[in-house]
């Protein structure tokens, strides 16, 4: 048993943090978000080329550095601290991870381009009626001419406006919520019949409604086996959960730092509000919540290769613990900042909004508590 980062991981973390402090400070971050595109293609290229971060967790055979899920944890935690919106999670963790595990020609074609920053992936799994259930699908893919015809509507596809490719879930057979008949496809952005309705998200990101109208997908863009993709997607989902939790840890750490600093500076009744016992204890509780969540996110990361039941329980446990922590830390951070906490002027409010979205992303606390309890 060993719970320490490798030297390489420590080095990468420190390099990434100093990069972010330099090139993604709060004012820059706001400018990036308010720009037309809403992200920084420059930063993305720098992550790929200057830092080699995009390949850190991907196999060496496909151009990566041969790291693992712990690298993703370290990277996303750092990105969370800087509220980085760029789509590392969907591109590298989901897209890169899935393609690498599947292997074959598609992986050989795309993974090196993920590493180099040329391919950006969004994960189109949710549907308006689906409420966090991977198998609740109305999008269909029908065999046609040696390929598939894709029809349907994917909701709130985060990062889609920046993506070159989408990983899309669709039903090739079975009824709306059946476990059988779920398939996954890689769809290129500009395939005829694909339309994007892009919009900003409340936490500063960008998303889109994706609509597919008779979109032709070649057979070799089927990911995994036709109709049997659910187990594979469950794993992808668990990776996504753990990854977004890791980002949440960074978001929370930063909120606590900001809060402690503010409380030490803000004077009321002639003394720093940090001298009030009630606020001291609240900040201690924030710290504890972050530490406890960190522990479960670490464990869940290390359990991604375990059998499905253990893996799902570990991921859901991490999401429950992190979700509760995000609520406590976020709400307390705003409350302790007082009036300043509810303005967009200080960083804390922006972190709070991101924290609030992460709470629900890939399933709320209630959802994952149920998922965990069903597997008891």
């Amino acid at each position: 048993m060993n719970l320490s980062l490798t030297e390489e991981q420590v080095l990468m973390r420190d390099t990434l943090r100093s990069f972010l402090a330099d090139r993604y400070a709060f004012d820059t971050h706001r400018a990036i978000l308010e720009s037309e595109s809403g992200w920084s293609a420059n930063c993305w290229r720098a992550l790929a080329n200057e830092l080699g971060v995009l390949g850190a967790s991907l196999p060496e055979t496909l151009g990566g550095s041969g790291g693992n899920a712990i690298d993703n944890l370290v990277i996303l935690e750092s990105m969370g601290r800087s509220l980085m919106v760029e789509p590392y999670l969907s591109t590298v963790v989901i897209g890169g991870g899935l393609l690498s595990r599947l292997g074959g020609a598609l992986a050989e074609a795309l993974v090196p381009k993920i590493v180099s920053g040329e391919v950006v992936i969004a994960f189109a799994w949710a549907e308006p009626q689906g409420r966090y259930e991977l198998s609740d699908l109305r999008t269909t893919a029908v065999r046609s001419d040696g390929g598939y015809l894709l029809c349907g509507h994917k909701a709130v596809v985060v990062g889609a406006p920046w993506a070159t490719h989408f990983v899309v879930t669709a039903r090739t057979s079975g009824g709306e919520r059946d476990a059988e008949g779920v398939s996954a496809f890689l769809v290129e952005r500009d395939t005829a019949g694909t339309s994007l309705q892009s919009y900003p998200t409340v936490d500063g990101g960008r998303a889109a409604e994706l609509r597919f109208d008779q979109v032709r997908v070649p057979a070799h863009h089927l990911l995994g086996e036709e109709g049997q993709a659910l187990p594979m997607l469950e794993r992808v989902m668990d990776e996504a959960i753990v990854a977004v939790c890791a980002e949440g840890l960074g978001v929370m750490r930063r909120m606590l730092d900001e809060t402690v600093e503010y409380a030490q500076q803000r004077l009321q009744f002639g003394k720093a509000i940090a001298s009030f016992q009630v606020l001291q204890h609240r900040m201690v509780d924030m710290h504890i919540a972050i530490e406890q969540a960190t522990s479960l996110v670490t464990v869940a990361t290390l359990k991604l290769d375990e059998p499905p039941r253990e893996r799902a329980q570990a991921a859901s446990a991490a999401k429950v613990q992190t979700g509760r922590a995000l609520r406590l830390v976020g709400q307390s951070a705003v409350q302790i900042h007082g009036g300043m906490g509810v303005t967009e002027e200080l960083a804390v409010g922006h972190f709070f909004k991101r924290a609030s979205v992460i709470q629900h992303q890939f399933g709320s606390v209630d959802h994952h508590l149920r998922r965990y309890a069903e597997r008891l």
Binding site: A126, P128, Q129, R131, Y132, E133, D136, A155, V156, V158, E176, R177, Q197, Y199, P200, T201, V202, D203, A207, E209, L267, Q268, F269, G270, F276, V278, L279, Q331, V334, Q335, G338, G339, G341, V342, T343, E344, E345, G349, F352, K353, S356, V357, H360, Q361, S364, D366, L369, R370
Partner: protein
Amino acid sequence: MDLAYSPEENRFRDEVRAWITQNFDAPMRAMMAQSKNGYLDKEGQRLWQQRLYERGWVAPEWPVEYGGPDWTHTQRSIFYEECAGAGCPQVIAMGVKMVAYVLMKYGTAEQRARFLPPILRSEEFWCQGYSEPGSGSDLASLQMKAERGGDDYVLNGSKTWTTLAQWADWMFCLVRTSKESKPQAGISFLLIDMRSPGITVAPIVTLDSPMPGQQEINQVFFDNVRVPVSQLVGEEGQGWTCAKYLLEFERGNAWAPTLKHQLRKVREIALKEYAAGAPLFEQADFRRRYAELEIRLSAADASELRVFSGLKAGQSAGADANMLKLVATELQQDITELAFEAVGIYGQAKVRDTWAELQNRPADPRPGPVYAAPAAPAYFNYRKVTIYGGTSEIQRNIMSKILFGL
């Protein structure tokens, strides 16, 4: 004890309900359904308040001599229940429910004659100048200077968290007229024309990302602003007394009727949203959380009833008022949080201008159902309620002092 209403009271309820049905019209309803903070825009607020004024109902608590409707406590509570139950906008408090009482108690006859009628007719809007950047919970430490210069006070400094200052014609304001005594004693209560030279209103952008002009709060800067001494209320140095007097009214409002409306909206969302092929409201976990909130809200509602019905005329609710504020604001936050959860994945989509379609401004097609758009902004925005009007921590400090002498 009993909970029944008299036949007259029930008739009164019918009358109020009928009036609301007619006057809280479809455009107003559509706008309120997309409001992120419980208000209409300026024109809408004025129109609504003026309809109430014409019916004689804009100021239920005012004495008859100033234009109040002479209602019993029960009638007032029925009125508020019906307004809140229908989702009507609240009357903006700063005129009718705040400065007016100070004027009635401490104002001169001239001040009352000048200011009360336009308040009642919603011809003049007001804002409140209390907090300053360095004085939040510790209001008595306020620094904004008002120095005598001839028949004027000359004001320099700034006020912040000034709700709807951009709509206001007048501000009532606490200023420091003396530094010598203990902090509370050097404060005076001034009425300030917001068109005075030297006043700048700067919007504060809150977490709900309001559109320009729709912001709720502002910082107001004063640069050698001249205010005639005739606009001093009460004596110089009596400002703290005025502010404390006003506070009793501010804390005497019932919160539950509005919260019930907000919670009902969550139920409506949960009946429309789907989870595993059935309405979200049928899902046991969601239903339990909803039930928990409904029970807490019933307790808050019944507590308001107990407290207010137990008060004699003119009596203040004391620590109970702090309790009602604490309980209601925490509930309100939890309701907005459940709404945010109920709308599901579309809560993440940002629709900044939720009124665009209604007001014929260019609007992007909305992602997701129409009820989803205000959920996240409301959740973010309502973090304010445990901060303004005394943070929850300050409320508990005060209660500890009143209840236990600690």
